[in-house]
Amino acid sequence: MSLYSAETKRLTKRRFTKLFLLGVTLILAAVAVGMFFTNQKLGPEQIASAQAEAQQEYQRSFDQFGRDLANCQAAQGKPRAADWPPKCAGMTAPTPDQFEAAWFMPPTFDFREKFPDMVTTLGALLALVAFIVGASFVGAEWSSGGMMNLLLWRPQRLRVLGTKLAALLVFFTAVTVVISAVWTAAFYGIAEARGSTESLTSGAWQSIALMELRGLALVVVAGAVGFGLASLGRHTAMALGLTIGVVIVFQFGLGTVLNMAGVKFAEAYLIPIWLIAWMNKEVKVEDFNSCDFSSSAGCRPDSLLLTWPMAGGLLAGVFVVVVVASMWAMRSRDIT
């Protein structure tokens, strides 16, 4: 337990950890403040204003139509007639129902509709921070010689590395739970003040809670992967460099090659789609170069449904491979 508490203190004392947590807090605060000021609560006044604006727009379009029809008719038999449809056929007057008042409504924060995107934003940001802090936590220990020092005190390699990892993951679990709670409360407040919470049912809350749990899992996996890669390479730069390499090679390089090769469901080979599938429960990838014909619906593109259990399996696989590899390397390597 003493090793665990020492590692937790080591993690929280690090300036790197503090700076990144402060940075992510400021970014999240900026997002929340931005959402607060760009949304409005909808009342009879806003609805009446939107309806009036829709009516004005309709009237402007109707007047314009009248002028266009007159010009068209006046141009008949003259060279200018070529600018208009033959005999002004097909020119139809706009109708009021084509101008929906909803288009002219000010943005409003509907908690049930918009908060899931905010959960994804939070999960992605915290996962990024967990990855970098996790990589730095162990990478700096390796490169500064601190790990060797620690092993002189505790010559139990797997226990030392495992305790470090546990301290990191427990810390980020706590941080994610606290920030998620504050984030949810903040946006509930924003929805109350600048939007709506009316459609929130217990089922909706359950769905949001599960999504936040998936976000937490993403943060934990990202932290463990950053930690594991940096430990394998014995340097923070190993994890960060590998990640940049993966982004460049797999996301841009592989994406371009797959598209050029006309590979079916090319997106499914890229990382972001799996993260979206994980957070949003599912995502459909479509192949627009194919035709899945049915007599009732006609030609539709082939589709591949990526679900959260599939994405979860992938995340678990990456987690296990990286953590096991780092533990194996820790157990067997000479520390020089």
Binding site: S2, N149, L150, P155, I335
Partner: protein, 334 residues
């Protein structure tokens, strides 16, 4: 291969082997190395760069896996039982390495907590190594000597029975070196066993009871400092002739008989005088008389250079791994 005996030696190494494999091939860092340190001793561990000193210490402390041999600390075989004895072993290996953004106090407090050591020890060791007034400074602002002091402090936190210090005087100013010498002596007086690796051989000679010299991964000398020096002093003598006699004739004569002679301004030194009586006899036969014939007591540095074959040779640039094994015993005149 010799066996680790069940004696109460604080540290025992027998037949230790370590081979490094790389794309360039294999390199044998330790080749059946033996070492024994008795309780309460200050033991010097000497060897040229690349001889296997640090590999030995790292292997002993569980950082490197050996390819063969046996080791024991405080009577317990390591690395199998290292976790059981680690609390009684304080060590710094090679240059001091700490996380630069932490203060000295934070660094020591975290180590103390990780190792289950009382927090009061932090203040005690900071005082002991002279860092009390700089304990809240970040380690990255420390000089090499201050980092060295911090490293020693970290090794002393546990109040170890065995203290292993690899180049503890590295980066210290002359005052710091003297303080370190006093510190090591004081620690030894409390009953602590100290293994000291250093290239400052004068220091080793001053403070160590016994030494082990390693070269090319093998032990080339071991024993008390006095014994090691004595075994290499008998063959060197200083010769002074009667005033007014041209020493060149005597030198030529002795060289013609196989002596290794080094001429100084008013005397000469014979390095391989196994039987000094031969000198007087050869010279007296030519009516050259000796006014002084005294054995030259070797210092540890010359013994070290001789045993490890690392003495500089004029006109040659010695490479790091380039050593010569100790010459066979005996010498000219025997």
């Amino acid at each position: 291969m010799s066996r680790v005996s069940p004696v109460t030696a604080v540290l025992e190494i027998a037949g230790l082997q370590k081979t490094y494999r790389s794309r360039k091939g294999m390199r044998r860092a330790l080749d059946g190395f033996d070492m024994t340190v008795e309780a309460g001793q200050v033991h010097g561990f000497l060897g040229p760069n690349g001889s296997g000193k640090t590999t030995t210490l790292r292997t002993l402390l569980g950082l490197i896996k050996p390819n063969g041999g046996q080791m024991a600390i405080l009577g317990r075989a390591v690395p199998e039982h290292l976790p059981e004895v680690a609390g009684q072993v304080g060590a710094i290996v090679e240059s001091p390495q700490f996380f630069g953004n932490f203060t000295a106090r934070d660094t020591l407090a975290l180590l103390a907590e990780a190792g289950g050591v009382r927090r009061e020890r932090v203040d005690a060791v900071l005082e002991l190594v002279g860092l009390r007034d700089r304990d809240k400074d970040r380690v990255k602002t420390y000089s090499l000597g201050m980092k060295q002091r911090l490293a020693v402090a970290s090794a002393l936190l546990k109040e170890p029975k065995l203290l292993i210090l690899d180049e503890p005087a590295n980066g210290l100013d002359p005052g710091g070196i003297r303080e370190m010498r006093t510190l090591v002596r004081n620690l030894a007086e409390t009953g602590m066993t100290v293994v000291l690796s250093s290239h400052i051989l004068g220091e080793i000679q001053l403070i160590c009871d016994s030494v082990t010299i390693i070269s090319a991964g093998r032990r080339v000398a071991a024993g008390s400092v006095a014994d090691v020096l004595a075994s290499h002093t008998s063959s060197t003598v200083k010769v002074r002739l009667e005033p007014g006699i041209d020493p060149r004739r005597a030198v030529d004569l002795l060289r013609a008989n196989g002596a290794q002679v080094t001429v100084d301004h008013d005397h000469f030194i014979i390095g391989n005088a196994g039987n000094p009586a031969q000198i007087t006899r050869i010279l007296a036969e030519r009516e050259i008389y000796v006014s002084e014939l005294t054995p030259v007591s070797a210092d540890l540095e010359s013994v070290f250079l001789e045993l490890t074959g690392t003495a500089p040779v004029e006109g040659q640039n010695r490479q790091v791994d380039q050593t010569a094994m100790a010459p066979a015993s005996g010498g000219w005149g025997q």
